[in-house]
């Protein structure tokens, strides 16, 4: 399905992905800075709401956390970790809302030069339910887990 509102196009390419595409009248460098510099993020991410940026470690594995304050006095915390940071090109991070712990979204933003000083942004959100996360833990990581336990056994044996 495709919906176009204002200047962006929204599609759902898989059953758990939202993809939004939009062009901005600004070069990639400016769009990248708006995405990664705390004092700039604070000026748009909250959509007019006050935004307190508690952490913004823009590097692989870095932690980010922001708290949004709505006019009716509510606060909403959002946080996650950066997975990939390739300046002016691509940024990928996990996203969780305090109100739905365990429901993780993998957000990826890609920046393309659209010519004439414009940038095309492609933002993708992949949703994971807690069940899906557990499913991954049980499948791919079992081998690694068994090895870790074996190593733990050895450490414990040595402590006696």
């Amino acid at each position: 399905m495709i919906t176009t509102a204002n200047r962006h196009t929204l599609t759902t390419p898989t059953d758990r992905t939202i993809r939004v595409e939009r062009e901005f009248d600004a070069p990639r460098d400016r769009v990248w800075r708006a995405f990664t510099q705390p004092e700039l993020i604070a000026q748009w991410w909250g959509r007019g709401n006050k935004l307190v940026i508690e952490r913004m470690e823009v590097e692989r594995g870095g932690h980010w956390r922001v708290v949004e304050h709505t006019p009716d006095g509510e606060t909403h915390g959002f946080e996650g970790r950066f997975r990939e940071v390739t300046p002016k090109d691509r940024i990928s991070r996990t996203f969780e809302w305090d109100g739905m712990p365990g429901y993780t979204i993998l957000e990826t933003a890609e920046f393309f030069d659209a010519g004439e000083g414009r940038t095309r942004l492609v933002s993708t959100a992949l949703f994971f339910s807690p069940e899906e996360r557990d499913g991954m833990l049980h499948s791919g990581m079992e081998g690694g887990m068994a090895e870790s336990y074996a190593a733990l056994d050895r450490v414990l044996a040595g402590m006696r």
Partner: protein, 112 residues
Amino acid sequence: MVQYSSTLDSVFAAVADPTRRGILERLGRREASITELAEAFDMTLTGMKKHVRVLEDAGLVQTKKVGRVRTCTLGPRRLAAEAAWIANYQQMLEAQLDSLGEFLERTKGDRP
């Protein structure tokens, strides 16, 4: 998992529409009849029935007919909470892009 996945597909289809997101948000506060929803969203009864059916097929809304009134409530709790979360996220993402567009417009020519 397979069942979950196909359910989520219909959840996405259901929440892709702003009116249906509004219906979910409203039903999250309290139940309402189709007539009340149609009035609230300034829509014909037939139009509202179609939206409600899509939400019902996705398991997001349950309806119950008592006499001549069909009452709508949010569907099974976990799924409904999840759908509302996805709907909120999508709304937030779209509003953020508008906000970013305005910010870039506003700061054009500024040098940090």
